[in-house]
Symmetry: none
Subunit: 221 residues, 4 copies
DNA sequence: GATGAATGAGTGTTCATTCAT
DNA sequence: TATGAATGAACACTCATTCAT
């Protein structure tokens, strides 16, 4: 564990320490004790700046997501071919997933609500609805938590969907009424590639190339 | 909570109770106390039949996995076209994932070892090696646990890989040196579809159809 | 662990298994489960022949003590010099203690009553009285348990005391009003020698020789 | 049960409560629940100041041992005859043993390792080696625990050995190549006197006098 | 006679959160 | 602003004993 520079504010030091710890241990195994030790501060200070453990984690996730989402949007808005955009998107996404593996797993699993019986449904306009399959219904606060983590993940997929839809409107892709599904399918497939590390020492550029190729042309010989 | 029928043995009642609880709460949030309450038995009885919580969970996972894997293998060995096999595989897999969402999440996350700094690598012969990126190395026992859950997940992907490889050898698919990767990518994409997007109305047959189509022919217009 | 011969009765097999287990693990760490596994019998059978764990242990202790005590008494009654008797006593005692180290520790500690606040006092006529320093007074049953283990240990010391008293009456030892104390002191010193294993690969004969010599002549130069 | 004064820190109150409980119940029968009840605090507080139950016990043992060992060393270094030193040593030791009977029993038994198959051997330079006669070998941590309790007991015996060796070098005692053994024998004999025979009326000074006398001059008439 | 399935009270340990200073 | 002492609910696991067959 790297100790913090003395010049940073306590608030920043805590967030940096949280990054170290959450990135390794995930959410449940991460302890405030470890974080404050690295940040060289006290527990009270954490609760001064961050409402609780969950809020600290969310702040970290936001901080990490923002520049990544920005990059994705730059790719979306870039002046290049559809396949170029897709390739760039895939490369960025593989890098980000690879760098933030455990944190993404937390988003997918710890905060998916599945283990509380909750599920998020999205309609075609992108509005969310939380339903409860069993157990207690989420409180307003709990629903808000679900929603905000879902939005993070969804924001990545939405960019991909826009890229795909643009591909359709440019006439490069076949149309399909549920481009959202294809975006999710492609995104999920890439994510799982990294989660499962099917390819040690993965060359992101190469993977992006072949994935784009097969996405476009299919596997039929 | 559904109470057990009086006719079942304690061992069976415990496993059924475990299924209810683990399927809802996941691994960490599931408690023995809840399980024994549903099974209407004592803690000692659980430990009589199952070595510990993890072993109880694994027994459940095996029980669920066996018939599913069997179905996949039947599909693999069936006399039909490649695309028919692929379609059937996808349908079974979507059903299974949908029915066992939380349990699969546990396999992916709680027992992936990622949050302990561990990672499983497979060589081309399908042998596993556990490496430790940080923290303590897994004990022999911990390594065995990692390995056995990984094998469950891997067993699903291997069948898909065999189907794809057969498609290649039949001349229906383009060859690629890493069919393992494409199997993982397709599998992961489907898994994520369920993890993330699943709504009650999902028509597995329809999804399988379009996925097979695009897998074969690509999205290029 | 050696498995039992098939010819022995269940009752005997259990006692032999108990000997293996108690001799290694002591009382608390020994489990009935381990004992019945070695004895290849069921738990109910143990409770058929022996009232409970404590009673099983006591039966074992008695079985081991009887021939030992017999040997000590033979030495006491033997026709030889005082120092010869003392030497033989010491050798037997060191052997027995060495062979039954853990069981003797159980007598001294687990069943001394000290950790329940109880203490045994003996008057000059050798009568026992149990007093309670704190906590609940022992029930009649508990008092009986204390008493019986104390008697085992005391039986060894009494023989030594008789040997010493005979030494006095033969004019070989100085008289002292509390020969019981000297017996206890000598006995305890030897016991601790083995408990602490001051001398690896102890030669009992040699130790007995030097102990007798210094017991008789003292350490003064 | 005596309640704590309100002025003491929680850390101190816990240690005092631990003293009450461990001194009565020994190690295994002592429970954290009883300790925190007496200390009027929460379980977390115990674990804040003491790593675990064993560490709490060890802290208590150290706290009790330090001033005692100091007294023994003062006696060792005092300007007086050999027999004076020996007498003072015996008196202190009887007092300490009498005051800390159950705790010393814990050192001898619970932490001797004998019931795990472990044994500590000391070479002539006083270095320790742990050997395993059966069962699992101790982990590094377990070995460290064995070692530290052994050192406590050994520290008492070493002082006695130094006193005896000085007696030899002053020409008051016969030489013997294993003064360590005699120290252990004398120490053990005294310990057992208290473990076994102690009645409230024991006059330590008197006992010390007669033990010194017989130790020097022997029992031969 | 012999069995072994069933039990549940009991215990050490963890960790997010609070709040007085 | 910053602290860290104090808390207690929660949880996995053990094992002597019982009793119906």
């Amino acid at each position: 564990m790297v100790n913090m520079e003395q010049t940073l504010s306590k608030e920043e030091r805590i967030l940096l320490a949280a990054e170290q710890v959450f990135s390794r241990k995930g959410y449940t195994l991460a302890t405030l004790d470890e974080i404050i030790k690295i940040a060289d501060t006290g527990k009270g200070t954490v609760y001064k700046y961050y409402k609780n453990k969950e809020n600290l984690f969310y702040t970290l996730v936001q901080k990490k997501n923002e520049p990544f989402l920005e990059k994705l949007k730059v790719i979306e808005d870039s002046e290049q071919s559809f396949s170029g955009k897709l390739r760039d998107y895939i490369i960025e996404m593989l890098k980000f997933t690879s760098d933030n593996l455990v944190i993404l797993q937390v988003l997918f699993f710890d905060f998916s609500g599945a283990n509380r019986g909750w599920q998020i449904l999205t309609d075609k306009d992108g509005n969310f609805k939380v339903i409860s399959r069993w157990g207690n219904k989420p409180t307003a606060e709990e629903e808000e938590i679900l929603r905000k983590y879902f939005e993070i993940l969804h924001s990545h997929i939405i960019v991909l969907r826009y890229i795909l839809e643009e591909g359709v409107s440019r006439g490069e892709l076949k149309a399909h009424e549920q481009m959202n599904m294809w975006a999710g399918h492609l995104y999920g497939g890439l994510e799982m590639l990294v989660f499962h590390d099917m390819d040690e020492g993965m060359d992101f550029g190469h993977v992006a190339d072949v994935v784009v190729d097969r996405f476009m042309n299919g596997h039929k010989s």
